[in-house]
């Protein structure tokens, strides 16, 4: 019946049916209370119309039990929905381990997408079926928002920081994605399609014509080209800390405190190195804000993340 006139968008992610269930729950509640109010008003309005013979003895204009009832019942129902929605949100918020990471850069008015294997695309996003995919997103200019209705997810994409969202596609096919945050003249053209492929097909696509050098490899070239290598020596004898094993570890900071060296920290430390200096080092690294494109920053980060192995011990602890 809903075929020609759907009220639900395609449901193609693990989150979609759960969001739809919440929507349906709220809809039932809305229809129930709207109908209650509507019929109460219609019934009273007809029965107690001017001149009707209805019994009007002892009209009341206050009732504490009634007031409490229609405060407490809606409050309980509200909190039921609150916990339902918040629990689901928490599950939808954090990507499971092992997600495929894809970098997304929004700019007026296009989406630039970069896969770790080196494939790049514009306004198209190829993803494998049945695997969690995490988008690591930033903007080159204003705020955008990456919205995939079929997956029921959306996240604003801000300049100057990474935002993430994740999904696990459940149905192969092509789906819209939209920029949902107004971003200027051609906002409505900042749209594209997600192509969900069978894993084998996806692997073929990654290896295919669109392929280039992996991000980490390109990043390694940048690491040399911008002179990073001259201070961040592998044996930790340089003016900057060695980077092997840093990604994901806990870093002690100059002036006390620690920080987890996630992508956001690495991004900040490349662009604005003085913001959080590693303990035992001086803020001597040049600022790369404006020197590197978001793509290049992402490539450097992937290079740093690719430097596995044990972390070289921090320089003594004595300044």
């Amino acid at each position: 019946m809903m075929h020609g006139f759907p009220i639900f968008p395609p449901s193609a992610s693990t989150a979609a049916p759960r969001v739809d269930a919440l929507f349906t729950g709220l809809m039932i509640m809305t229809v129930f209370f709207s109908a209650l109010i509507f019929f109460a008003i219609a019934f009273f309005a007809i029965r107690y119309r001017e001149g009707s013979k209805a019994n009007r003895d002892n009209p009341r204009s206050e009732s504490l039990p009634l007031e409490l009832t229609w405060m407490i019942v809606p409050l309980c129902i509200s909190f039921g929905f609150y916990f339902w929605a918040s629990t689901l949100y928490t599950q939808m918020h954090v990507a499971p381990p092992g997600a495929v990471d894809v970098y997304v850069v929004g700019k007026q008015w296009m989406w630039k997408i970069q896969h770790q294997q080196g494939n790049r695309e514009i306004n198209e996003l190829h993803v494998p079926l049945g695997r969690p995919v995490r988008l690591i997103m930033t903007s080159q200019d204003v705020i955008h928002s990456f919205f995939i209705p079929a997956f029921r997810i959306k996240q604003d994409v801000l300049p100057g920081r990474y935002s993430t969202e994740w999904f696990q596609a459940t149905t192969p096919g092509e789906y819209h994605f939209f920029c949902a945050q107004f971003c200027g003249t051609s906002h409505a053209s900042m749209i594209g399609r997600v192509i969900v492929m069978q894993p084998a097909e996806y692997e073929r696509w990654l290896a295919g014509a669109a392929g280039g050098a992996p991000m980490a490899t390109v990043g390694e070239g940048l690491f040399q080209q911008f002179g990073c290598a001259s201070c961040h020596l592998a044996n930790n004898s340089g003016r900057g800390p060695a980077l092997a094993g840093v990604a994901g570890s806990t870093v002690e900071l100059e002036g006390g405190g620690t920080v987890v060296a996630d992508r956001e920290y690495l991004r900040e430390s490349i662009l604005d190195p003085a913001a959080k200096v590693v303990r035992g080092y001086k803020p001597v690294m040049p600022v790369f804000r404006g020197q590197l494109s978001p793509d290049q920053v992402a490539q450097l980060i992937e290079y740093i993340r690719s430097l596995g192995g044990p972390r070289v011990a921090a320089k003594g602890g004595t300044p």
Binding site: I7, R18, E62, S78, A85, K154, G160, F182, A188
Partner: protein, 538 residues
């Protein structure tokens, strides 16, 4: 008495003629009329922008206006309707006219400040209008940074200055109401004998005084960043774009309550009068207004669930947003209960009252969809949001305003509006409204983003329905505009109290004399002392 001669007594309308007597008046009733004319003008300007948008959206392609023009249309529609129509609508027109009369005073506390507030409104309005005509603005009414501060090429600064100026008008009106309600109540008129409309005006005024300065500061900072390049919001300059959103919504969410609380006040008057029964749960009704006004300051973050704000903040704001719905629910249930064992007369104002309750209920309940974190992720920034807040703003606030205008029209003008036409218009508006905005709920859930000049073709059917509804709605607004003007000359003589309503404003002749009351009334009892059926049998 012939319909052309009601002017037998001296009243505020015949107390002086000519532009001078109007432009230099300090009579709250004349200032209300000045406001009514000004906001009606801006309402039709804003409506015209909306109509062009709906025409463009008839087809998926951008074939009527360019993307740039479309972006300016929705921005100017929002700016005009929010700041130059909705926020001043009920407070500045009905509030100005009625607050002094309802509390039994001869004017507001500061009559000259009241006139100044209208002049500030006009200056702000003309400034913004000029900025819109000579170039326009394309940031949306929300002015999100860094787009507005760094990237937009349109008239951001002039429009922001216009809104900045307008803010002082809101503050002055609100200040006047607060002082008037505190200090000028007639003898015996204690707080719990006040009509609920006064409670609503009081709650609204408190929000206006507390929230508007935050908007002014925020817009000033936006101007500083845009003009002088000082990094406040733009990360490229070292600022934080989310800071703008926090500050903006700290004003703009309470601003939603600035628009809806006055309409709740109006509807309480309408329902109780035409049910001829005291409003049910008076104290709960009064305190729920204050509860909405105060909790309303703590929910701004629900506009930012997908902005990058922390997930924990999102959960707190979500919980508070569910809580703020409770006092609204209390109001709806109490209105319904007021009808029980009443004696309901079907005049136009109460039809608007019923329309308000129905549409506000749907608008309010769909607000819970948006307060639900996981669901908001999907529907945020889609047409679902557009539909939701138009149910509150148009279905709620505008219906309340029109209901109030019809109810107090006899008092304001001394003439009755034509009942048949008025009922017809109310019906047309109700049908047109639902046809315009109901399809937008579905569009939103299907994923159509807001502020889209072009859209994928599968969304067309619902957009055509919406545009058809908007056409009916537009015609619906023109009907009262015509018959209300007609009634000024040809309407039946209203008399002092055509609705047999309680309330001090009905004790004076219609239209009221310049000083409202020859003798200040003394209040000895509760409000809304309707006696139901007995009264009719007398």
């Amino acid at each position: 008495m012939s319909p052309h001669s009601i002017t037998t007594h001296e009243h505020y309308l015949n107390a002086g003629y000519g532009p001078r007597s109007w432009l230099l008046t300090t009579d709250h009733k004349r200032i209300a009329i000045l406001y009514m004319l000004s906001i009606t003008f801006f309402f039709f300007v804003g409506g015209f922008f909306a109509f062009l948008m709906r025409l463009e959206l008839l087809t998926p392609d951008g074939d009527l206006v360019s993307a740039e023009t479309y972006n300016k249309l929705f921005s100017m529609h929002g700016i005009t309707m929010v700041w130059f129509f909705l926020i001043p609508s009920i407070p500045s027109v009905l509030g100005n006219f009625l607050v002094p009369m309802m509390v039994g005073a001869r004017d507001v506390a500061f009559p000259r400040l009241n006139l100044l507030s209208w002049y500030i409104y006009v200056v702000g309005g003309l400034f913004t209008l000029a900025a819109m005509i000579f170039g326009g603005v394309d940031t949306g009414w929300t002015f999100y940074t860094p787009f507005s501060s760094t990237y937009a090429h349109s008239n951001v600064i002039p429009v922001v200055i216009g809104i900045f100026i307008l803010g002082f008008s809101s503050i002055l009106t609100a200040l006047n109401f607060i002082v008037t309600i505190h200090t000028m109540r007639a003898p015996g008129l204690t707080w719990f004998r006040l009509p609920l409309f006064i409670w609503a005006m009081y709650a609204t005024s408190v929000i206006l005084v507390l929230a508007t300065p935050v908007l002014a500061i925020t817009l000033a900072m936006l101007g500083v960043e845009r003009i002088f390049g000082v990094g406040i919001f733009d990360p490229a300059l070292g600022g934080d774009p989310l800071l703008f959103q926090h500050l903006f919504w700290f004003y703009s969410h309470p601003a939603v309550y600035i628009m809806i609380l006055p309409a709740m006040g109006v509807v309480s008057e309408l329902i109780t009068c035409f049910a001829r029964k005291k409003v049910f749960g008076y104290r709960f009704m009064a305190f729920s207004l204050l509860a909405i006004a105060s909790v309303g300051f703590l929910v701004w973050g629900h506009h930012m669930f997908v902005s990058g704000q922390s997930a924990y903040a999102g959960m707190v704001f979500s919980a508070l947003s569910f809580i703020v719905a409770i006092p609204s629910a209390v109001k709806v249930f109490n209105w319904a209960a007021t009808l029980y064992k009443g004696s309901i007369a079907y005049h136009t104002p109460v039809l608007y009252g019923f329309g308000f309750i129905g549409l506000f209920t749907i608008g309010g309940l769909t607000g819970l969809f948006l307060a639900s974190l996981a669901l908001d992720v999907h529907v945020h920034d889609t047409y679902f949001v557009i539909a939701h807040f138009h149910y509150i703003m148009v279905g709620g606030a505008v219906m309340g305003y029109l209901g109030g205008i019809h109810y107090w029209w006899p008092k304001m003008t001394g003439r009755m509006y034509p009942e048949g036409w008025a009922k017809f218009a109310a019906l047309v508006l109700f049908v047109g409204f639902n046809l315009t905005f109901f399809p937008q709920f579905i569009l939103g859930y299907l994923g159509m983003p807001r502020r889209y000049h072009v859209y994928p073709p599968e969304f067309q059917v619902l957009n055509v329905l919406s545009t058809a509804g908007a056409t009916i709605l537009g015609i619906g607004y023109l009907i009262p505009f015509v018959y209300l003007i007609w009634s000024l000359r040809h309407g039946k003589n209203a008399g002092r109290n055509p609705w047999r309503a309680t309330g001090l404003e009905w004790l004076t002749p219609s239209p009221p004399p310049v000083h409202n009351f020859d003798e200040i009334p003394v209040v000895t009892g509760e409000p809304y002392t309707y006696a139901g059926e007995e009264e009719q049998r007398e």
